[in-house]
Assembly symmetry: C5
Homo-oligomer: 355 residues x 5
């Protein structure tokens, strides 16, 4: 019955742990590397093609941010891994894009996987994986493809806005994570709009099976977003509680701020869940109401005309001796009787509030 599909994770089964296999769908994305190197006084921004060109930054005192787009080129990823001394399992996690958001602390770096959420052109939620490595004076970030939510961070570095140039790599790390989580608000809002639109449609005349399908789709969207966002609570929590010297105490308040945002977003998601279930209920009720109305029409018509038809039937009988048939005004009297009956019925239905 179930057709066989080749799938992301199956490619991975049975491999030696630490084998790099890119599991995303953006196969044709070329590798592109962006580097920022800055301190309070100066900054340098480069676009490079070979990862080796970035390795000189490792020994400098200044803060370095290396942003790698395109995970398809696993050999280059492996080179970075070797240069920065990353554990093979981390490299595996970077290229396996079906990771759950998570944090791994090692002695000399912290590894975090997040999901950037977008709505694509068909209004579907897309989750793109982005991984961060925070080291003593560097941050590495790995994305599946170009195009991200970090423009405001780049801007701040370039134009020395805020305190980013004054503080260390832990603040840069914060700023990047903050940019990702900030973007969740737009997702949340689009979702809220969708729910409102659907609610309006419930009472306008839209095909019923469509609505049922839309509700089901929304439920899934909420589940998907929830799954991308909820693990963040634990991640930020662990950053806040870490005793790793990579995170300086004075940046902890910033992480606390992200935590508050995540809680707020999570609560919104849970409220949306409840609202969608409420929609389902309202939808079921509206179906029942419609059926009720259909039944009422049928009942009113049948209840009025079936007895009248019976009366007409009576006087359509061919008995030789039906005295009423011979009365001169019999026909008119009968009409009067039927009209009275008709009005009586109407009155009865109005009293029952069916009309």
């Amino acid at each position: 019955m179930a057709k066989k599909r080749t799938s992301k994770s199956q490619k991975h089964i049975g491999q030696v742990p630490g084998t790099l296999i890119y599991t995303g769908q953006k196969k044709s994305n070329p590798l592109s590397i962006e580097t920022f190197d800055y301190n309070l006084e100066r900054f340098e921004e480069k676009e490079i093609i070979k990862i080796d060109d970035a390795f000189t930054y490792k020994s400098t005192e200044s803060i370095t941010w290396i942003n790698i787009n395109g995970l398809n080129n696993t050999s280059e990823i492996e080179k970075i891994g070797k240069h920065y001394n990353l554990h093979p399992l981390i490299l595996e996690d970077i290229v396996n894009t079906s990771q759950r958001p998570k944090i791994d602390e090692y002695d000399d770096y912290i590894f975090v996987v997040l999901k950037m959420l977008y709505y694509d052109s068909e209004e579907k939620v897309i989750a793109e994986q982005v991984s961060f490595v925070l080291g003593p004076n560097y941050v590495l970030s790995f994305q599946e493809a170009e195009g991200d939510v970090f423009d405001s961070v780049r801007d701040r570095i370039r134009h020395k806005k805020g305190r980013i140039r004054e503080l260390g790599s832990d603040y840069l790390f914060y700023a990047l994570i903050d940019a990702v989580t900030d973007h969740y608000y737009t997702i949340i809002e689009t979702m809220g709009d969708k729910i409102e639109d659907l609610e309006d449609n419930l009472f306008n005349g839209q095909s019923q099976s469509e609505i049922s399908q839309q509700i089901q789709n929304l439920k899934r969207e909420v589940l998907k977003v929830r799954r991308a966002i909820f693990p963040l609570r634990e991640i930020i929590n662990r950053i806040e509680k870490t005793d790793n010297s990579l995170i300086l105490p004075k940046t902890l308040h910033y992480y606390r701020d992200i935590y508050d945002h995540i809680i707020q977003i999570s609560e919104n998601i849970d409220i949306y869940r409840e609202m969608i279930w409420g929609l389902m209920d309202m939808y079921m009720t509206s179906i029942s109401n419609k059926m009720n109305e259909v039944m009422k029409v049928l009942t009113i018509i049948a209840t009025i005309f079936i007895p009248l038809t019976f009366i007409a039937g009576i006087y359509g009988m061919n008995f030789e001796n039906i005295p009423e048939l011979k009365f001169k005004y019999g026909y008119y009297v009968l009409w009067a009787v039927m009209i009275i009956l008709f009005l009586g019925m109407l009155y009865y239905f109005r009293r029952k509030k069916w009309l």
Copy 2:
């Protein structure tokens, strides 16, 4: 499909952390500042326009309460922040009115965000954000607009009621939070009344789709209130357990009292939730019952008259040889038969309890 709406939070995305952007809707509210400065012997109450006028109080030993209405004027807020040495993130939280209730402890002050809940003129719940900063001998409070729930506190300071003039800023802090939470009781009660009213309407003749809409609205109202109140449990809990010297041990019992109130209110909200779900069930049942009744009427009418009409049809046939038609009293006999049948049906339905 989803129309684009400009929204509160989107304004904020991509900003440098610590940027002050007022996200509330009361844009045109002018800044107005109220100051209370008191100790056991004396008190002074002023209404000022420029925040600088309030700065002299910082160095005095007496307790100072500075209440700022109108968060639109972010530059003045920033001045206070600088004077009282508040963290930029806190200032951002004060003017961003879509905060979740929360507490942040710093070394020399405690920051708390709460929601004041009101019913507006259309019986909708409005949540106005109010932020507090508790310092060694001062309390700052920030509201979106004038009009609040603190009149009883002002009164107590002015007329030396209770112990407020004897105790320190931590008691003032308590008194303000207590005023906010006390007001939740009125919300809870109005909500309880609404549920009762809706319950009465279920059985009176109100349009069905209206009721379904009202139930859905009530559900949301409960969710909204819940969201404003539930985080308070953790906030008060953390105040109780703090080892911050700003909260003196002898005021802890007062915070415990607030905690008990919050628990009680929270329980009420959860009970309302259950009751509203119960209403939904009753409503579904009442729809089913009505449909049942409609069906019964139809069935009774059809079951009685369809056979009778059949009989009339029989004797309306034009066979040349139907002996009954020629009987002298055939017509009367037939009526008798039909009346007996009719009564038999009635008896049957009565035995089935359908009449």
Copy 3:
């Protein structure tokens, strides 16, 4: 829409904390005070009117139980408070009868609020608040009105039954709480009976909207009882774990016993909840079943007679040339056909198990 009602809690809003305002409904209850003073050798029981008469007991070594009925007379309550050095918030809690059950530990006394549950004459659950203060050699109890569940305790003191006269005030405290919780069993049982009765009514012919209303009422009753009983688990738990010297280790087993009872009662309540929800389901199913039956009757009648009526209609037509009409036995043949059709239908319905 929502009518304004004066309500308990509103009276309280905006008051100075510690203000005594009686919020119960038994306004006209006069104050009545009962005192027991006993040790192993002797006991003394008095009924007094002024609280001052009881103050001599404070200095004695013997155990004293002062039971105050009627909380309307707040000035007398205040006197006790002053004499026994009770915190103003405790006095406020004693007279505010909408408290949630709770425990407050102070240095030299423990304060507990409980709910006594009764069924009144209309089979409604009434929750009367009772507060206890346990001191080194005394127990104070405060009730809204006379009439309580402590007769067995009085008896044991008077007749030296059990160990009550041998042990200290902590055992008396236990005995009083035990009397309150023991009484919950009767509530639980009446509730169980009600559920069983309702279950029987489901299948007997009771008006449907009535049953739906009764189920909703039962749900609320369970919620109310649950709310009165569940906090007790935490209260007893905290008594067991206290390091307060007022509770001697040798009475701890007795509190453990209460704890076991509370757990058992709580489990019963949760089971009742599930049973009531089950009733709702059964009720919905029974409505559906009834509708099904109504539909079947309609369908059977209509399916049998509509075709027969059609046939009769055919031979009621006035075509000049319908050969069958001229057959001598045409009419009888037709009857035969119709009877065969009728029997065929019956057979069909019987095979479909509709008859």
Copy 4:
């Protein structure tokens, strides 16, 4: 409304704590006492009538198991209590057979209450209370009536099977609890069979109200069993974590084994719960399906014959000038038209998949 019933627990209300009142239903069961006294070398088994005959074992070094059947004879129970120095509350719990499963640790013994579950002859679940006291070299067990699940333990003692004769009273204690929990598996399986049987009946023709009743009964059975078994998790957990010297470290692995069984049984029960709720859903769906089918039959018949009857009605009219009536083959043409209409309808319904 609610009839008064004398009930177990009411007998108990208002009693001095520690009063022995048997609350079970097996009033006429005579007391019967079984004793086993054994060590590695020898064993002795006796059936005695007076409890005093068992008291000689207390001073011996060998392991003693005293099994008391029949809790009606409270004075004998009290004698044992006095001899083994048991707390009055424990004796009260032994004879009060509506206890919840629980554990109480005292300095020199451990007290455990369990429920033995049986299916009686009417396939109803019966929960019989059994209490154990584990002392330094003895185990006491108390049952309501003769007949239990301990035959395998007796056998092992008699025939020196397994390690029971080598180990101490803590192993005997384990063996008895293990025998009780092992028996739960049969309960679980019968329950699983019942669910399967009910599932089969859903689709066979069984009266609908019966099925609804059976589902409700099964739900209750699951609740009852759950209530008897779930507390065991905590009980075994506490035995495992106890620092009481009565339980030797080397038997801990055996208790761990029981714990695993209990978890497994509990999971089964929860799965059954879900399955029963699923049955309810399937049942509701099957009702809806049946109603759907009834409606289809009605609609098909009515939709086919109502228009045909209308046509016949047209030509039954008595207008003087209806030209069709005079056509020679008018009648036959009409039949042709009606048959075509009939076939068209059939085709329409078949395309709609109603036939």
Copy 5:
């Protein structure tokens, strides 16, 4: 009612703890033993029939993996147990294949029970039990039958892929568990496909009772898989937190990796649960929609033709004096009236969106 079935667990009840009884269904599987013995330099692979042949490996320094297929031959299992000094309860757990996944730590070995999940040829989930014992330089694995998921591990040992030959028995242990959990992904995906297929079928014309049955089956499958996988979270967690020297700190990151996978799989399962419940809702809605449609057809037909039939009935009456009957064009006028009525009805239904 419930038929007696001989069942797995019943065989076990009342046995001496530690008795080896194979409870699986693969009775006829012959014992087959595979041994791997390797270190960095060399490896040796053998297939043996008698367990004694494997015992020489115990004393060597190299890592040994002994894989036993077929648990029917309990005497051989007992021999291994004796040789490797395993606790009797562990041996009992190995052959009792209805174990819940679990971990037991002993001083010199760790025992883990897992479930391998397969889809059999009928697309049913099969759970085969596999047990592992990790010792200082060996791993024992026990399976019910040949055929497993370990081929990739064998390969890595044979061809020195990855780090398996460099590391100790704890890494081998990890590699085996990892192979089991990796395979869960295929289960998860097949399940996802099944849900999608079922969703498609909802809207295609499949028999309704079939769909209801399929949904119920899927629910059970999810429950079964959940039950096999969820305990793993605790198992891996305990391995990570163990202070047992068998697990070296440097392999801990690998176990963390398994943990992440398990969490991801568990989340998927929970999402499937929600989706299946959503399907049930959609299915119920689709039934209601269909019923609604049936009712509409009936109502439209009846509402149109019942009044028309009544009109025809009127002019079928045999009154002597019905003037309309004598009009020359009466018949044609009537047709016009009826056609207008018919069109009016159609218009009404179209406005009501029923057509």
